[in-house]
Amino acid sequence: MVVETITDGGILYGLLAVGAGLATGLAGIGAGVGEQGIGAAVVGVVAEEPGFLGKGLFLMLLPETLIIFGLAVSLILMFAWTPFA
């Protein structure tokens, strides 16, 4: 039977992968939600005053760090933390 071949380690590894995926994915949604409002506002301002582009970009890119946090957690889960060593 197939069921017998699934080990505890395998389940743990699977859960680890799911967790890593959730960490990056949910963080991505968060960053997206944050950026949508700022992005719309920046486009509006830049249409009025093109000189604001640099600062607008700055503001728009601020929430982007969120996804990097999620990614950092994923990387640690997938690469740095080895419960099977």
Binding site: G9, L16, L62, T65, F69, F79, A80
Partner: protein, 688 residues
Amino acid sequence: MLRPVEMSRVVVAGSNKVIEPVIEKLHELNLLHVVNYSGTDDAFEMGKPLGTASEYAEKLIKLRSIERYLNISDKMPDKQFPESQVLSQMDGILGSVGDDVIATAERISEIDNEVKIKQDQAKALKPLAGLPLDLELLYGYNSLAPFVGTVASPVEADVSKVSYVNEVFTASSGGTNAVAVFVPAEKAGDVSGVLAEHGFSEISVPRGLTGSIAGAISTLESDSKRLEGEKVPLQKKLNDIKAQHEDLTLAIDEYLSIQSQKAESPLRFASTDNAFMIDGWLPTDQYETLKRELESAAGGRVQVEKLDGSEADKLVETGEDIPTKMNNPSIVRPYELITRLFAIPEYKEFDPTLLIFVFFPLMFGLILGDVAYGLIIFIVMFMLKRKFRTPGWASLINIVIIASIWAIIFGFIFGEIFGPLGLWDYIFSGSHHVGLLGTVADPHHVGIDFGSGFYGSLGRLGPEIGGFAGGMFPMYRLATASVLMLIGVSIFIGVIHTGIGSVLGVKNELAYGEKRHAYFEKLPVLLFQVFFGLGLLGLIAGGLTHPLVLLSALVIIISIVMMVKGPEGVMGATHIPFFVSNLISYLRLLAIGLASVGVAFAANQLAFYVLMPMLSGGGHEGFTTIAIVVGIVVLIMVHFINLLLGILSPFMHPLRLHYVEMFTKFYSGHGGGVEYSPFGRVRRFLRD
């Protein structure tokens, strides 16, 4: 280089008799950043424009309208003209050629109008085409009311009910029913009601046409075709004139702009009945040139004086901006674009362009890191360089060219030519790399192949440690060991990058005389971030009791105490999460790269290990022709998309690291500066 050019405040004063040669000379020197006279001093009033101002302005307006008709817009010059030629040909262009252009362009727009009217009429008449009536019979009655239009259902019977006397003509074509109903004028109201019930919609018959409707339509159509044909030679004529005179027109534009700029310049000066006074800034080392040249131009009847430091400082305190002239060697200069996009540095601030020049391409390369992608970008940009010659585009292209060289260098370090499993193995090692993607369950065997192939013994830096081979190059980025290593490298770059930002921040605050801000706001950030990085290093090397960890913890606590003691008080310490996230943010250097490597890897895997074996019957050798063709098509498509993304994200993300992580430490804390723009103009189409 990190500082803008040193500026001096000068005053030029002289008799009104010499104002013209002085303006002439100032404009030619292109040195003095004029401070506009604000009109606050009772002794002076605003200057009056020279007499020639309105003449030049009028000519300029006419020239601009000619340019608009000819569709000429600013571009880089192909030809240059001496001023004498411009002067001799200006009247021709503004006169006969210009009149010709305007007349032709107006004729074209007339034709466009006529064609539009005729096409609209033809379109309106189309549904009526089948009616057996001539056009002139459809309107112009005194005692009859005509209804012409389309209906949804037959109307004869109902019309007869309300008006016994009637005449109804119908025709149907292509699903629409045209109808022309004639009834006595007094029945018009009733009939119109009946018609409305049948979905009548009126068509207004264009007046002035005669003959059968179908005939009229074909006449209208042939007329508009004839008119369109008439337009072609006119447009060709305009194109010919443009091709012949484009550069000359732009040269005249430049000449007239210069003249009108000079003629209107006294509006920016302070003046009395007999004298004028010009305030301005210029690079200190140019002061002697300005003084000498102006005095010789005005025959000594002008006074040029440099204000000393304290007087200039007083003016700055009252709100005058010292203009900033960034001072960078030519290879760094393209990167001023990135600085400018954010803000012009203030005169007393650091100009971050040099730092951008060092870090930006490095980060770009670290993210993209592929020999082939780098080469393609390099070649494409080199070709675009000839096409896009305006300063903005030229800077952008130069930025990407420098960055693509770094991408090639990192490509060699990572061992990527079109991604892992790409051409690297074919060119350098001769055997396919096996076991590139290890599993977490077996981390110690991943990366054992590091160091094989191209780098030979060079690839093995150091002995085998644990299960690791100890070799580094080429470090396949998808392998666990190099991901871990790149995490460290990214954070390390972050510590240096933000560290430099903080050091400049401290010096900046000192330059503004804000000691408290310097030592209790900027310095603790530097300590915090550097020792946060060192602490992490200690943790990895020796765990919690490593001396480096203990030292770092101590310094971090001290830095937090300093923040709390700082100008913002306890609020200062609330920024700590921001400083930590600053460093973690540098992980994007690894992450964005991994994403694009992942796509390239998937493409290669799909083509070489799935599609091509599948299409040639399962084997890993001896692919059939069709398999190779399909494989190559897939490869080109995916790599092309990946390359496009590979230009965009490695550009945007380092940009963010500079704007958010680095600039916040020192840049524009005191508001943006004013760019040095001297009175004068760089001649592009004119030559001496």
